[in-house]
């Protein structure tokens, strides 16, 4: 059972009036993440959907101090904030970097790798909506195989999604977690846990995006849950190298009742040009990773 099911912090840090799209998965994720992190937090973010959510100067619906910086610099910005706070003996403040998949898997990779290697004391959150959604749904290295984007408008994306979690695992940081706004208590639990750990912590949020993925805005939670049920999004934690499935993914791993990816794919317009061959390749890719994770879970016992 989720640890914080009956203990969710009541205070809202994201007030009504955000500039996020209707049905935005990030809005839900951010709301629960900030509830878990609470007051003494400084957020840093690049140009991204979250920057849009934060609203237009001089108004903001967000009640946590936040610092914008440029696209490639999120983790370095967090490093600077953490170093500044350390120099001023304000080490009780949690520094949290939030960036999308473009700002993490692509442009922000160098700064993130540097910060993680240095063991910078911060939480890095990659909210992954699988493309450059803020600029109009262009392809990123996190876009899955077979998805239409505005820069893969005819042929669909020809490559698999970058396995970014392996890159983060290679940095040997104390805490890595994956989560989804479709299971907000799972997300909340992981932020609470991450906040208590020192060093570089990485949280990947699979973030459904109605306009980018082309599904009805009411279906964000359904799509997010289908991603978990089909194994496209696997909920897990890696703490000090020990891997464990969490929540719904643990149940799936125990019962072996993972759904075929077609159940996830068929509900999204972005996959409408996906070929049967691509669907097979995507299923193989998911199955291979699933087996890898199961092996890791067994080894970590």
């Amino acid at each position: 059972m989720p640890q914080n099911l009956f203990k969710i912090h009541e205070k809202e840090y994201v007030l009504p009036g955000t500039r996020a799209c209707q049905g935005c998965g990030l809005s839900i994720a951010y709301r629960f993440a900030l509830k878990a992190l609470r007051e003494d937090t400084i957020v840093t973010l690049p140009a991204c959907c979250l920057c849009v959510l934060h609203g237009l100067y001089p108004l903001t619906p967000v009640l946590v101090p936040s610092v914008n910086n440029t696209f490639a610099s999120t983790a370095a910005s967090a490093s600077g904030i953490a170093a500044g706070l350390a120099a001023l003996n304000r080490t009780e403040t949690t520094v949290v970097a939030f960036a999308g998949d473009g700002g993490t898997f692509d442009m922000g990779l160098q700064a993130l790798s540097g910060a993680a290697e240095r063991g910078t004391d911060f939480i890095y959150v990659a909210y992954d909506n699988e493309g450059y959604m803020n600029t109009g749904t262009q392809r990123s290295s996190a876009t899955p195989l077979g998805a239409l984007t505005t820069t893969t408008p005819v042929l669909t994306k020809q490559q698999h999604k970058k396995d970014f979690l392996k890159i983060m695992e290679a940095h040997q940081i104390p805490y890595i977690a994956t989560t989804t706004p479709a299971y907000p208590i799972d997300l909340y639990d992981k932020f609470v846990r991450a906040k208590r750990i020192k060093g570089t912590r990485f949280i990947h949020i699979h973030t459904p995006c109605p306009p980018g993925w082309q599904y009805p805005t009411k279906d964000t939670i359904r799509i997010g849950r289908l991603a978990v049920d089909t194994g496209l999004c696997v909920l897990f934690e890696v703490e000090n190298g020990k891997f464990r499935f969490t929540g719904r993914s643990r149940t799936l791993a125990e019962k072996g009742n993972k759904l075929p990816v077609v159940h996830y794919v068929e509900r999204q317009g972005r996959f409408k040009k996906m070929s049967i061959e691509q669907l097979r390749q995507l299923q193989d890719w998911v199955d291979d990773r699933w087996e890898e994770y199961k092996k890791k879970a067994a080894e970590s016992k």
Binding site: G55, T60, S79, G80, A82, A83, A87, L88, A111
Partner: protein, 403 residues
């Protein structure tokens, strides 16, 4: 008792950063800056300086770390050169736009391609429009003194300051430098007061997106649009010469060394020909001017110490008042036109009664040595052409095979 030591420009810069009690340092090594990054590491690891040293993975992150740390209220320092500075370019704009009093040394070096590790000033000159104050140093003492002044200036006007000094010519050359007593520096340079405090009790989003026009906040107070913020940065730099001169004056009073505020002069009172440059080449020009005087040519030097903000029109016109010829030596070029300093100087003379012929030389690119006797020959050649009736002299590449 004075604390005089024989040190390089890089060592002088490191010493200055230590005297300023910088709290966060972020640096990435690049020739010829490396020794400075190393010295600071030594200071921090051996406990001589209490600071957080972030050994970043690149210059873009070096400036980003400075921005983050300065935002939360720490005094920060970094240094770079050449392509490292260019790699920071995006963040230079971000630092100035955020109105953060970051001080950075640019150890001037030529820019690739092709590669050169040696000195010119193309790197910092090409960052002219980023909103940074740029100060050019003549010698190692001026490097140390200017860094201390730079924090006072930056923290007064809330704009970042780039302290530029020539790679190898100064960075790796040993000179006597007087180190002021730490207590006196602390008195001269009070603790940094950030313009914004990030606090859970007063949450705000810094540098969020804004619209072209001014917009009211939730209490109806109309707040700046993008243009108003840009205007305020321009206004801060426009007004900063007053601060720069005042800080220089107070520094001279406290420590006995006056490096000139915005510009300095050497034997210009009766000079017919005035040589002008920035950095160590301007110091070399003083040797050339003295040599020219020995040959009966009334020569002087105006050294441009602060390139941005550019010295105010009145001060510039006054400095060149009696000149009949002005000879510039620049270690950079604005491709497709002329040296950037030459253009700015001509613009400053617009509408004044200065009618001197101006001859611009591009010199010493990629570390090509410039000797004072070459400056002397260049000045004499310019004067001969002017005497022969030439009024428009095209930019000349000094000591460069141009056939």
């Amino acid at each position: 008792m004075t604390d005089a030591r024989i040190i390089t420009g890089n060592q002088a810069a490191a010493l200055a950063a230590r005297l300023c009690d910088v709290q966060v340092i972020a640096a990435y090594p690049i020739t010829p800056q490396s020794q400075l990054a190393e010295m600071l590491s030594l200071y921090v690891e051996s406990g001589q300086l209490r600071a957080e040293y972030v050994r970043v993975e690149g210059e873009h992150s070096a400036m980003t770390v400075c921005i983050g740390a300065s935002t939360v209220g720490a005094r920060v320092f970094t240094a770079t050169s050449s392509n490292g500075l260019l790699y920071m370019h995006e963040q230079l704009h971000w630092a100035a736009g955020s109105r953060l009093p970051i001080v950075m040394c640019c150890v001037n070096r030529g820019v690739g391609a092709p590669w050169s590790i040696f000195n010119d000033q193309q790197d910092s000159l090409s960052q002219r429009d980023t909103g940074w104050i740029q100060i050019y140093c003549r010698d190692n003492q001026e490097i140390l003194d200017t860094i201390i002044q730079a924090y006072r200036i930056a923290e007064t006007v809330y704009a970042p300051v780039m302290v530029c000094y020539d790679g190898f010519v100064l960075s790796h050359t040993m000179m006597p430098v007087i180190s002021p007593p730490p207590a006196a520096v602390r008195k001269f340079l009070p603790a940094y007061k950030p313009h914004t405090i990030l606090d859970a009790n007063n949450p705000m989003t810094i540098n969020s997106v804004l619209l072209p026009n001014r917009r009211p906040d939730s209490e109806g107070v109309v707040c700046d649009g993008y243009m108003e913020m840009r205007y305020k940065l321009q206004n801060a730099l426009d007004r900063s010469p007053e601060t720069i001169r005042e800080v220089n004056r107070q520094y001279a009073e406290a420590f006995g060394r006056d490096h000139g505020g915005m510009l300095w002069t050497h034997r210009t009172e009766d000079a017919d020909v005035i040589l002008t440059s920035m950095g160590s080449l301007a110091a070399e020009a003083t040797v050339a001017a003295d040599a020219l005087r020995e040959e009966g040519i009334k020569a002087g030097v105006v050294g441009i110490r602060v390139f941005r903000p550019f010295p105010e029109k009145q001060e510039v016109v006054e400095a060149y008042r009696n000149a009949k010829a002005i000879i510039l030596f620049e270690k950079s070029i604005s491709y497709g036109y002329e040296g950037g300093l030459c253009s700015d100087l001509k613009a400053a003379f617009y509408g004044s009664d200065i009618r001197a012929v101006i001859h611009d030389y591009v010199a010493g690119l990629g570390g090509r040595d410039v000797k004072s006797r070459e400056l002397v020959e260049a000045v004499k050649s310019s004067l001969a052409r002017i005497a022969a009736g030439e009024r428009e002299l095209k930019t000349t590449w000094l000591n460069c095979h141009t056939e």
